[in-house]
């Protein structure tokens, strides 16, 4: 393996023994436990040999019942100095839905985590402003009052009727709302 990825490997091994590594088409993915996420991310950013200083994207995958843990949060990292990329994955169970926030490490993570929260309902602990990003803030099922998360696999494609109201039709001249 290249020296650069050996550095990364040693950082991850130092922090946890509980990791998985997948190599596919020269792309490297680590699955790490969520308790070690923050330490690893700090080290990956601050270590000058690695310097993954840019968080390109954060998103999630909903495996429904295909995997033991329903959700997986995915981090796409990039090093401008070394021109290298790395992918990290963290598994989140449906019962807790908690994941540590990396917005202290990379400022760009702030909005990505808000988006992931909006779409999957994963709650990022320590996030400074965890509100919905795209959907209305009180977006929920009108019957049960449960909040809705549209990118989950069990969410119907056309949404829940009446969950987002439309403005009323102007019946006559001069109608304003």
């Amino acid at each position: 393996m290249e020296q650069y990825f050996e550095n990364i490997h040693s950082v991850i091994k130092l922090n946890t023994e509980n990791y998985e590594i997948v190599k596919h088409r020269n792309q490297i993915t680590y699955t790490i436990p969520k308790d070690n996420l923050l330490d690893i991310c700090f080290e990956l950013k601050e270590n000058p040999e690695i310097a993954l200083d840019m968080c390109v994207d954060i998103t999630a995958i909903d495996w429904l019942d295909k995997k033991h843990n329903r959700f997986e949060v995915v981090y796409f990292l990039y090093s401008m100095n070394h021109n290298k990329r790395l992918r990290l994955k963290v598994q989140i169970s449906e019962s807790s839905l908690l994941c540590p926030s990396v917005s202290e490490v990379w400022g760009s993570a702030n909005w990505y985590e808000r988006e992931t929260f909006d779409m999957y309902g994963i709650k990022f602990e320590g996030h400074p402003n965890l509100r919905r990003f795209y959907m209305p803030e009180d977006y929920c099922d009108p019957e049960t009052g449960e909040p809705l998360y549209p990118l989950r696999k069990d969410f119907p494609l056309m949404g829940i009727p009446d969950s987002m109201p439309l403005p009323p039709y102007p019946e006559k001249f001069g109608d304003v709302i």
């Binding site: 795209y134 209305p136 987002m164 039709y169 304003v176």
Partner: protein, 179 residues
């Protein structure tokens, strides 16, 4: 005989106020360019010299709803955006018309999903629909001409009905806390 020709012949005319107002409205339809996605590019092209919407008296794209006659909805309207569209519509002085440009605004288009309004005629009285994804600039010009035909013929709309009224508030978006 049109008003123009009569004026040229005699130098004066006797006619109804209605006819004069319609004549004036019809030759200066000012659109409000509500370009909310890719259709807006073709809408801009329609106003450009190549297609030249100015030939039909509609080249003045007003950037404020208070000065425009036609709401040109060019793009995908989401449920969140629908309130904004309605607010802009409310701010326009009467008489006003609505053009629904493109597949998205008219039917939801390829976005058959939870977030996109499947046609703006669910909350706005649309006068002309334009088909296409995106429509050609010629279709936009045709739509403006159809509005002019409407003004000239049957559809008389009274002026200044909502003058001075307050306009719509935004919908309630919930409190800021989630956790």
């Amino acid at each position: 005989m049109g008003l123009d020709e009569q004026l040229q012949k005699d130098g004066f005319i006797t006619t109804s106020i209605d006819a004069v107002i319609k004549w004036a409205q019809n030759s200066s339809v000012w659109p409000f360019p509500l370009g909310i996605s890719c259709c807006a590019i073709e809408m801009m092209a329609a106003a450009s010299p190549r297609f030249d919407l100015a030939r039909f008296g509609s080249e003045v794209f007003r950037m404020t709803p208070r000065q425009s006659d036609v709401l040109l909805v060019a793009g995908t309207v989401t449920y969140k955006m629908a309130w904004v569209v309605r607010k802009i519509y409310d701010q326009m002085p009467d008489p006003k018309w609505v053009i629904s440009m493109g597949a998205c605004a008219s039917t939801g288009g390829m976005f058959r999903s939870y977030s996109v309004v499947q046609s703006i005629d669910k909350f706005l009285p649309v006068d002309v629909y334009i088909s296409g994804c995106p429509p050609r600039p010629e279709s936009v010009i045709k739509a403006i001409m159809m509005i002019q035909d409407k003004i000239k013929s049957k559809e008389y709309k009274p002026a200044l009905v909502n003058f001075g009224k307050d306009v719509s508030p935004m919908p309630h978006q919930g409190s800021n806390s989630v956790m």
